[in-house]
Symmetry: D2
Subunit: 263 residues, 4 copies
């Protein structure tokens, strides 16, 4: 029996290959997320956790990742990503670790004219990595749907202009001592489209957003450039990736633009 | 200006076509779900709400669906589906309404030997429909991952047997005065595979589940038949749909079985 | 050895449950599809094949489905669905069989003003079922993207109107002796939106589609009603399911309408 | 009229932001792919094409990407990626361009004992980039499903061992004057699992693959290391990314490992 429960993972590997990342993926967990000016929000997340594995070990101990996630359900996982990473380094006896959480986060939106409120869900992500004796790195990701209205279509047409829903994806890195709220990042990005989108719009609001988008036509190039300028101006941000995909209403494909910068 | 805010949806349509279902889809909302023997769980849901539209009206009022969802965020949407349906009938002045919510629901699982606990997320759904002067109908849906181990592979091989993750999807209808807990339905279904799956398994647990599956080989046909027998025996259930898809470990396709019955 | 290769599937089952559908799912195969006024097109399909299983048999023979698909690669699978079903009934010794193929089908589109052509891919499906001594039933499915422009937004706004890409899904049943071309069904449905979509549009085309959609505003209710009227009028069609989902450009959710009729 | 058809994209932008990538995404096209030892295969692809946009221009000309794809349908797009990139640079007057095609590619597989053949579809990708006066870079991507059988589960259990389908994703870069066949890359990678998967397996084959996997247990770490060693040994390969995700049959999540190397 004792023989049976041998720790195979701990046996020696002689292939001489250090593995950069090994761990678990698509683990579903509840996650506590800190809200701006409000109490915490519990969200459903998909988690990915990994470590680097030195060449001498045959395998990592996958169940320990789940044990750590389970312990953190009673703590504030999502608020203390670094604490979770330190736990991983300790319990898996590793030198480098990385975690990533993707989740839907709800924010109250106020309609522009009727002032009616409703909740809107945004796809967000937290990614953290940590090396022993090295630096902690954190990346915040948000996906923000907006309306884009085509400047060319408006210019060349006698009336109307094609417009569509577009999704802006932004990932930003910032220093450990700084804090960027999901709410603030989304608000900044949302301004870069032709108009924000809302779950609840009454007729007076619908008139407002229709006319606002028509008065504010933007190519994906325009949206991307405005995002780049806003992110460059934010002193906390040390690097970013930004992407916009517009699900063109006159085509069955998307217009798309992308930028990555270290600041 | 008044002319501008005309209620176009309310104008007369003369095509003579009554629409069976019209409404909103892929609306993201937080949902309160009643737990067995515990406090409520707040989940992230995708909602679909619709009504039947008489032939004389040009359109329905889509924003009212979102208003109703917003009001119900402060009430117990997910617990009182019927109350939500009655609100829809009233506010949209409709004769028939239907709502559907898909969400991830977390349940604590206990590993079979180590007794370590962890949370596992299950895809669940609530579907309700209601007609004026007619019946309320409710359908509970759950997706349950299990292990299946192939009886043929075991029988013909000198050692080992191929096994894989399979997903069992069950939708059950039951009367308004009855109650079926998500937890109970999942527990019943989970027994029908070769072995349940768990997020957290230590070595002694892994030995247990490996041997249990090997001792309990099942084709998708076997799993489906056992589910059918269990659902038929449940006096509360008045109809069901059951499906199992096994992501075969020796192929790149799935084995699959399906049954629908009125009881 | 002989014992080892026992036919486990063929053994007796005493649970008394006849299985309605059992087979394989998500099998990838090349499929030959007949084009209108042109040579055949080879497409990539996802196949689902199943049979009904009498209560006395423990299991079906899954590998035979793949053998049949393999044989049909050299014949005209996709053109002779009934022939494939008859093969299944024979080789699996079954009373009922059903097959389903989902595939991307390319059609040449001509831009409205520049007359430039380009290929557009449509998601299509073939579904056939057959019973010994019973009827053969065939269902053709197509998904057609179109532009929809909101009548309410146009009416209440001083300029512009929100519009978006919408997907119309239609499944039609027709008699064995009739023939409905994918090309014809798509053309009929495409007319029901505010404007068709195209892969390739030059500036003169973009002006045309922008103004056409603005002159032809339609709610999802309008699109659905026009589709219902067109399908009812087609003498070959004996039943249909129709659905439209508009990815609203002012919201992060969809407007949606659905109809099912036996004619 | 002339005023109407103004080239808005060509107007001057004064924000001073050069855009790294702008173009079209999710364009569906037929693609010609060169087979090893056989005639070409026409596949359905999703295309992404983009250019870098100098800071002075407001926008790129999206319709030209579609024109280029349309012209290349009559040529051997998929075989001459570099030719397509040169066309993009010329027609969009750009300095840098990138294209990416994702497609399903069918390869004949022979069952290990019965020698029966069947076609299996693999997700593949071509990515090419080109700079004026710079280098052409090409990346070939393949996804290869295999069986993995857990060494720990085998060691600690009295009988059986959990196994599952795992997907290996590999992207390799190689020099312009070299050629790596999709068929060869897949064959090399497939050997790194516990056993390959096949669409068609008769009983003698099923016995063979069951026993082969049991005799060849591998963690995701083992599979990744064997892939790394094979790719490092291939003199043509100048860099790679490799990833394996095993859809654990005893969990509802995946085990996962990743490596990226410049050689």
């Amino acid at each position: 029996m004792n023989k049976k429960l041998k720790d195979v993972q701990n046996s020696i590997d002689d292939r001489g290959v250090e593995i950069q990342k090994v761990g678990v993926k698509n683990v579903e967990v509840p996650l506590t997320v800190q809200r701006k000016n409000s109490e915490n929000q519990i969200v459903s997340a998909k988690a990915q956790l990994c470590v680097a594995l030195p060449q001498k070990y045959k395998g990592t101990h996958m169940s320990r990742f789940i044990e750590i996630l389970t312990e953190w359900e009673h703590k504030d996982l999502g608020i203390d990503i670094k604490g979770c990473l330190i736990d991983i380094l300790n319990k898996l006896n590793a030198q480098k670790a990385e975690v990533k959480f993707n989740f839907k986060y709800f924010i109250k939106k106020t309609a522009p004219v009727s002032k009616k409120t409703s909740l809107m869900g945004y796809d967000c992500s937290f990614k953290g990595s940590y090396k022993i004796n090295g630096n902690y790195k954190f990346v915040l990701g948000v996906k923000v749907p907006v309306t884009t209205l085509c400047p060319c279509s408006k210019e060349i047409s006698d009336f109307g202009a094609h417009n569509q829903r577009a999704t802006i994806s932004v990932h930003v890195t910032y220093n450990e001592n700084d804090m960027i709220w999901i709410e603030d990042l989304i608000e900044d990005i949302e301004k870069c489209g032709s108009c924000p989108v809302y779950p609840l719009l009454k007729r007076a609001d619908e008139k407002y957003v229709t006319e606002k988008a028509y008065n504010n036509p933007k190519f994906v190039e325009d949206v991307l450039r405005d995002i780049v300028l806003i992110l460059r101006k934010n002193k906390k941000i040390t690097g970013f990736e930004a992407e916009i995909e517009a699900m063109e209403s006159i085509h069955n494909h998307s217009a798309w633009a992308y930028q990555k910068e270290e600041l």
